[in-house]
Amino acid sequence: MEINKTEINKTEIEDMASATEKPLTKEIIIEEVSRNYKLLHRYKLSQQQIHIGRDYQNDIILSDPHICPSHASIEFRAGHWQLIDHQTVNGSFVENPTQKKHDAHQHIVKDGDIISLGKSQLRIFFNDHKVLPTLAFSPFESFVDLMRNPITLFLSIALFVFITGNVFYLNQPIEVNFSQLFVPTISMALGFALWPASVALISYLNKYDSRIMAQLGVSFVFFNLMWLSSVLESIVSFNSASNAILPLLVMLPSVALAFCLFWLNGYIGFQMTATRRAIVAAAITTLLFGGSYLVNYSKKPEFNPRPQYNATIMMPSLLLTSSNSVDNFIKDSEKLFEQTKKEVLK
């Protein structure tokens, strides 16, 4: 349950202005909420007097040991709901997010008020409380549904395993058999599965639906897309000279893919506003790419006696551009010498 802060403020002001002429309402909704306002229980009551406390005669029974057996009551008097604290040990307080905490004894309850008793919190709504407009299913929902389909999930994990195995195979300088590839491949897949699993775990711990299948499905599809983008990157870097801009641009898809993955992870696992989700996804993406850049940067020695060059080569069938002439290569090399000479002056 998301609380819209501005909404609360608005209703508060309205309530203050129209407190007296408001039609009498006896129905009241009391929600037991956690510290970060997650709904735990909801009661809808239609009586004049509601008793709240730890013993079993109360209408709302709270098991919090810091609450007195008969802690407080909310009574409908002269068109208002009023809170009465029964001289309790720890007191009752109005603790609205935008207001200062104050004593709740004899407080006239307004729509959206949050009352803290002991270590528990109650949120009170009237039945005319305005709710947010209906959220339509986004197109992502159908995409996520497709991805968490067991068959799609199996296929994307199988594809991931196949690609990983292939990469391992291609980089082994000696002959390898199936079982030698099996262990690194499976452990790689399990390692990558840790990410969606932990996102699911975190959303579960935050009282959201874990939706692990959806997380796995979406993540593996994106892992596969990232393999694809890295192959594209290699092809571009193989086909271009060192001063080309294209290899830098080809970096972008992988950044975009990472962002989309984190965005979808957030979309599946957590309920939050669109801006917040975008910010979180952008933050994780920055952390990932910026972090790996920082790690590389910090590892960089003060002076590297070895040349750093791009040695990407691929099989001739992936050669898409025509080659330069020796003349042009030598001409470009002249610039290189000029550049190095400038380094001396630094």
Binding site: Y169, L170, N171, P173, I174, E175, F238, N239, A241, S242, N243, E302, F303, N304, P305, R306, P307, Q308, Y309, N310, A311, T312, I313, M314, M315, P316, S317, L319, T321, S322, S323, N324, S325, V326, N328, F329, I330, D332, S333, E334, K335, L336, F337, Q339, T340, K341, E343, V344
Partner: protein, 441 residues
Amino acid sequence: MTNTLSVAQWSERILIGNLMKAFFFLVFILLSSFISNDSYAAEQAEQLFNQLKPSLYQIKLIDKASGEKSFIGSGFQINKNGIIATNYHVISSYALHPKKYRIEYLDHQGNKGELTLQSVDVINDLALVKRAVKREIPFLKLSQTTPYKGDKLFSLGNPHDLGMIVVPGTYNGLKKESFNERIHFTGSINAGMSGGPVVNKQAEVVGVNVATSGNSIGFLVPHNKLVALYQNFQQAPPESIEKQMAQQLMANQEKLMAAIFNSSWQVKQLGAQGSIPIIDVPFIRCWGDSNTDKTDALILTAIANCSLDENIYISSRFFTGSLDIEFRTMQAKNISANKFYHLYQQQISQAGAGNIAGKDNVTEYQCHHDLVMPDNQAINNKSILCTRAYKKFPDLFDVLYLSASIDKDKQALVSHFTIAGINQANALAFTRRFMEAVSWK
């Protein structure tokens, strides 16, 4: 890619490279066998030693801050005015950091005094230092003639700070196939004797101790190099040592590259279809290797490596003047083109510099790469060229070139060279000729 070194070059590098760490290296080879076998030689050696003793010095490089010696070598008087000849590598630290060190001599009577650096020949590892003299002092005469093979020579010096000694040995001509000539001396030269004279029976200097390969194989700088240095110094003393070194390095690379450009580049077959150039000059020597014995290898590889077996010592962490060329052919056995290229890429991703150089001496490498096809269209390569500039010697560079063929599914030809201490024009001219000389048959 690795650079194979011949044994001789390796130990030479060790000697020169590690002298800094003072009393290191080499088992002291007993001279007793030499001496007892030939009592006449012993008598003669003693006589010579006594005669030359007043002109011999131990040269010490003193670290000013600590007041202790950081390097030792030997030297000898070559004129009556106090000019002393020694090795450049003995005083190299002073030449590069004159504020940090001072040079001191110790004569046969235990007198000490300061020396000033006058002139160097960095290519032939020689230096002239000067002591202040009040009166004329005895000096060694430089020989007018070259010895004959088998002539008895006497090497003098102060090994490992153990005192001045004389070592009899044999002249064995010039080191075979050397670019900058060195005398091959059969006799035990040890660390600390660097810069000491080698004289003939007439007590005339025929060479200067410079390096060893161990097992009584020693190398000397021929006396004519010293004569040339001394004459140049008398005509025009150098403006600054650094400029003099820069000029010598520049002239040396010009001479080397001229010799290479003017020689014939012979076409040679490497592997089944590779065609590579072999530069036909005596001082560049080639070695080969292949993995035909490894039955489990997925790729059949043959390597040819040609290099100049000498390099120029600038400091213990900075060498230059080397040239290494490597060719490699690869032939896939039972693997796909995709896998072959993956493994092939691993092979070429780790090329390193051919010479030792640090942050104070050179910039970091800068590289560029492109796909290049020579005009004859006989090969299509991915070519990479990297350079780094020398900080103290303007317009000199280290270059590294690496080229990998990308036009055959299951065959590859890698061509690679590194040249240390070359100017831009020569580097580019060499690169161009090299690129055009490598192809498929």
